[in-house]
């Protein structure tokens, strides 16, 4: 009760409470802003900038998200081509012979490397779109939470 004696009036006490709440709000907003400025990304990078149709492409995927990311067992990636300034996803065979489950995951801060045997595709500017499920476990049903794109590369 001594602390209340430091205030000459209840009005002073109310002002202090308001200041404390205001400062809390300011710090909360600043923290949230700085948190989002931290890199939250999945880096997908091809080894080479140029490939030929039917070549083998090497791909590195690094998870910089706070949670783990997981990939589909049916469609772990899609190839996209740039036509008339628009990205278009190739048409894939739609009949997956097994349930679309989570096949593999990457923990935060880790990277994995894959090789892809490119099919017969048209020359031009391409990229790879990787759909991911966030914070799930291997063997569970895959659902696309987010997707990330690789760098652009050329099929000659």
């Amino acid at each position: 009760m001594e602390i209340f004696k430091t205030f000459k009036s209840p009005k002073d006490f109310l002002i202090v409470i308001i200041l404390i709440v205001f400062a809390g709000i300011v710090f909360w907003q600043m923290g949230d802003r700085f948190y989002h400025l931290l890199p939250q990304e999945v880096l997908i990078i091809t080894k080479e900038p140029v490939y030929g149709s039917n070549d083998t492409l090497s791909l590195a995927i690094k998870n910089i998200l706070p949670g783990k990311i997981c990939f589909s067992s049916c469609y772990p990636y899609y190839l996209e081509i740039k036509n008339a300034e628009k990205w278009k996803t190739y048409e894939y065979y739609e009949n997956c012979p097994h349930p679309d489950l989570i096949e593999s995951c990457i923990d935060p801060g880790y990277a994995r490397f894959f090789s892809i045997d490119l099919p017969s595709i048209s020359p031009g500017l391409h990229r790879i779109r990787v759909p991911v499920t966030v914070d799930e476990n291997t063997g569970e049903e895959f659902r696309e939470d987010k997707f990330y794109h690789s760098n652009e590369f050329i099929i000659r």
Partner: protein, 381 residues
């Protein structure tokens, strides 16, 4: 010496005779001869009209018996003076049956008509001129007249206006006929293999050169019923079977000669339905999973299945052989269903089928390919 002179004179005489005959032949024999005489005409000459004298005369019909000057005409053919049928030609008109003045034909003032007629294969052409030779080598002078109308008549020496006639062979109608290049006279719908040509065998008694044009028409050919006329007068007709559907058609040939006379012949031709090649596409080859290949996409590195749905031609009962090609490379033969693993993003599959009537058909479809399911192999972490 006298003998030599005789031989020379005889040779000259023979040559002169030859030249005379040749010139006569070249100038053309007049088929019609006429004269005015004061005795009745001798057969086969025919009395065309009678006149009161050789000049400044009145005229009367040949059937009258008042005048003693006979205009007699004849030739190497039957001739008459009747008017009215198609083979007669008007010569001149009289004001009456006797004691008549004359006028040129077609003036319309006088009603009694004098004609030349021939029931045979000749017709006459008559006109007026100061010299019948101006009208043509074969024109013969019949008489002369003093005016165009209300005129007196005389023999050819009497007046400057001569009545001139020539006899010309009567035109004979052409005879239309044609034959088919293919025994049985058939072709196949939608194709020119084989080409069915209707050969124009038309003839003309006046000579083939007398045929001026030949026109072909498919009477029940719908849009193909347009009249076809080739560049030659005796043109044959390539039947436009690529534009025709199967069925029987009546083709009419009409030939026209230089005189405008025509003849037609109509024959029936048959357009058979041809072998119709086609096939379906599938990713599984299972029942109920077949698609029109034009609406189909394969999958790279996966098998695509093909099923023949061809129908044999009209005279055949079944398809007897198959050949399957993809991008010009044979991948299956003698099977009605085939499959091949496709690798390209665009694929052209061609089916060649033959039926048991040896008709050959082709079908070709180009279809795209989807990408196979995407896979990757982890090579490190």
């Amino acid at each position: 010496m006298n003998f030599k002179i005789s031989v020379i004179i005889l040779t000259i005489f023979i040559l002169a005779l030859f030249v005379f005959n040749a010139s006569t032949t070249l100038s053309g024999d007049k088929l019609l001869t006429c004269e005015v005489r004061n005795v009745p005409c001798n057969l086969p000459n025919e009395t065309i009209l009678k006149m009161s004298s050789l000049s400044n005369a009145h005229a009367e019909m040949a059937s009258q018996a008042n005048y003693n000057y006979y205009l007699c005409c004849g030739g190497s053919f039957s001739i008459g003076s009747d008017c009215g049928d198609n083979s007669t030609t008007s010569v001149i008109n009289l004001s009456g049956v006797t004691n008549a003045h004359v006028e040129k034909k077609d003036l319309g003032n006088y009603s009694e008509e004098i004609c030349l007629s021939s029931p045979g294969s000749f017709i006459f052409d008559c006109d007026y001129d100061t010299d019948c030779g101006n009208l043509g080598l074969n024109y013969e002078c019949l008489a002369s007249i003093s005016e165009d109308t209300n005129a007196h008549i005389g023999d050819c020496l009497a007046y400057s206006t001569k009545i001139c006639c020539e006899v010309i062979p009567k035109n004979k109608s052409p005879k239309a006929d044609f034959s088919c290049s293919v025994p049985g006279c058939y072709a196949y719908a939608g194709t020119s293999n084989p080409i069915l040509t209707l050969k124009n065998n038309s003839t003309d008694p006046d000579g083939q050169d007398d045929i001026a044009k030949s026109e072909w028409e498919i009477l029940n050919g719908g849009p193909s019923s347009v009249i076809f006329q080739g560049v030659n007068a005796l043109n044959s007709y390539p039947v436009p079977s690529p534009q025709l559907s199967d069925g029987n058609y009546n083709v009419k040939l009409t030939v026209t000669d230089d005189a405008g006379e025509t003849d037609s012949k109509t024959k029936s031709i048959t357009i058979r339905y041809d072998i119709d090649a086609d096939f379906l596409c599938s990713l599984s080859g299972e029942e109920g999973d077949w698609y029109d290949c034009d609406d189909f996409k394969g999958v790279q590195e996966e098998y695509t299945y093909f099923k023949d749905i061809s129908t044999p031609s009209e005279e055949a009962s079944s398809i007897s052989s198959w050949a399957w090609e993809i991008n010009d490379v044979l991948f299956a033969g003698n099977v009605s269903t085939s499959s091949v693993k496709i690798s390209g993003k665009s694929n052209t599959v061609k089916l060649t089928v033959t039926d048991n009537d040896t008709r050959i058909g082709y079908a070709s479809h180009t279809f795209g390919a989807k990408l196979p399911l995407p896979t990757w192999q982890e090579i490190g972490s």
